[in-house]
């Protein structure tokens, strides 16, 4: 197997044993980037020279007994919303084409501190305001979108251009590209991972987290990035925990004692038949593994997306207010219009949407506690990756839906309530495109969500292949 195709778990064992050097691994990944980029365009900028300098330094450090842990020498792709010291951070926008930060964002700082090797900055839908990432293509079929807004990271991880891709998720932007590109993606609980140094879309809904190729790899990254930081007002000071240790502790266990809720409304409304079948089959596997499966009704479903839309519009317009007036013509048309739509949300409507969020959160909590549910399992997206020219689909309900919007229809609940949401691959459509299952847990119960995700993942004969293009 080529080194770029290894999981972090596999590569780190080889590195720790002295059987693989960070230089060999980085060279393999950079060669993969050179091969795949003309097809995918996942990166805004590839930092090959810096990566090789860091890889050589890691090699020397490890040889001298300074091994830092399982992320040491592992290649990392950073979504271009994350500030990186001395390296352009454009948010995939002409508005910030020349912005070079002085410092790293907290998550980047932590991962570089753990010894990771940054190989480049990955594309985002401009300022994360969209679920398509039009610059980038899906590695499973380059005529299709990778999803967004962390589409560059999704495409890069799935194709072997890096082993971890950082993402951000305000309305599904980690989980959607994970589902559409066939990777694992975790949106952690609101307040668990610092967002300092990551461009905001909507601060009360923004989350940051990783995309990887296995659930355990996600746990390894979470071990490094979770933690309190005072400069993120949402950050919470909690007792640190090891997600990897929790996973390994349960590695041989089945899911007896856990309850999986399956929604009877909202999440399976207007869903593609193949997505429905793949996710229900995966839920069947969870039951086979010992989980109790119960039906649940999503409370106040019709208000969740309404509240999310108003909050995002208002907060995005506030964030962009000065830039929109100074350089409005530099935004792409779709994003400019999206931001301008927020200029006309009344303050009273914004407050009402926030009040609605509190009510929905209480009702959701009552549903979860009442049914004794540990995780809710549902499709991540209603459809596999649509073609790059998008188009519409007419559902049996009569709904005519733009496919660029359809991919995000199941995302809002986890953002509105700040819940952990993990997308894991559960199969391929007849067109050869990945399908994702979304596992939503109780707040700060990442360990449970990861445990269920890994238990499912281990039922598959082989991991999803790293793709030949």
């Amino acid at each position: 197997m080529d080194a770029y195709a290894l999981s972090i778990t596999q590569a780190s064992e080889l590195i720790a044993a002295g059987e693989l050097s960070p230089v060999e691994l980085t060279e393999s990944v950079l060669a993969r980037i050179e091969y795949a980029e003309p097809h995918l365009n996942a990166f805004v900028e590839v930092t090959a020279d810096l990566a090789m300098i860091a890889a050589k330094a890691a090699e020397v450090e490890i040889a001298e007994g300074g091994y830092r842990g399982p992320l040491h020498g592992i290649p990392l792709g950073v979504k271009d919303l994350y500030e990186t010291a001395g390296i352009r951070t454009t948010s995939s926008s002409k508005v910030r084409a020349d912005y070079v930060p002085d410092t790293d964002s907290t998550v980047v700082q932590k991962l570089l501190g753990a010894g990771m090797i940054m190989v480049g900055k990955t594309h985002t839908h401009e300022f994360a305001l969209g679920g398509v990432t039009p610059t980038t293509r899906n590695p499973w079929h380059t005529g299709h979108i990778p999803g967004g807004s962390s589409g560059g990271s999704g495409a890069a991880v799935a194709s072997g251009e890096c082993m971890v891709g950082l993402g951000s998720d305000t309305g599904g932007s980690i989980r959607m590209p994970a589902a559409l590109c066939g990777t694992v993606g975790l949106k952690p609980t609101y307040g668990l991972v610092s967002r300092r140094g990551v461009a905001s879309l909507s601060w009360s809904l923004d989350h940051v987290g990783p995309l990887t190729r296995t659930v355990r790899d996600t746990a390894l990254v979470m071990d490094a990035i979770a933690g309190y930081e005072r400069s993120d007002p949402a950050s919470l000071d909690l007792v640190p925990q090891s997600y990897t240790a929790d996973l390994d502790h349960h590695a041989g266990d089945d899911l007896t004692g856990l309850t999986v809720g399956v929604p009877s409304n909202f999440f399976f409304d207007d869903v593609d038949e193949e997505v429905d079948a793949a996710v229900r089959a995966a839920i069947g596997q969870l039951e086979f593994l010992g989980a109790r499966v119960v039906e649940v009704t999503i409370p106040m479903a019709q208000y969740i997306s309404a509240a999310a839309q108003l909050i995002v519009r208002a907060e995005a317009a506030a964030y962009h207010r000065r830039m929109m007036r100074a350089s409005g013509d530099l935004y792409t048309e779709q994003v400019r219009r999206g931001i301008l739509a927020g200029e006309v949300v009344l303050a009273t409507d914004y407050i009402d949407a926030l009040r609605m969020r509190t009510l929905v959160q209480r009702e959701w909590s009552a549903m979860v506690i009442g049914a004794g549910v540990d995780v809710i399992a549902a499709p991540t997206c209603p459809i596999p990756a649509p073609p790059a020219d998008l188009g519409t689909r007419t559902w049996a309900s009569g709904l005519v839906e733009d496919l660029g919007r359809a991919v995000g229809r199941y995302s809002a609940p986890a953002n509105i309530m700040g819940l952990p949401g993990l997308s894991v691959p559960v199969g391929l459509s007849s067109g050869g495109l990945p399908i994702g299952m979304q596992l939503m847990g109780r707040p700060f119960e990442e360990s449970t969500v990861l445990r269920v995700g890994q238990a499912y993942e281990q039922t598959k004969a082989t991991a999803l292949p790293v793709l030949a293009l």
Partner: protein, 60 residues
Amino acid sequence: MHSNEEKLAVVLEMSGITPPAEDQEAILRAFSTGRELSKLIFSVAQARYEEPALIFSARV
């Protein structure tokens, strides 16, 4: 009663922003859907006195 188009023109003027002509239709559409979303949320009396959870800390 003013149309959404007239309301939008007033709000944008107060915001000090003049969108390009080609954006006007899209913004009007977004404004109209935004008003519908707001009405939907406002229709839930139960939400009226919920805590809006704006984050503020007196600790500097």
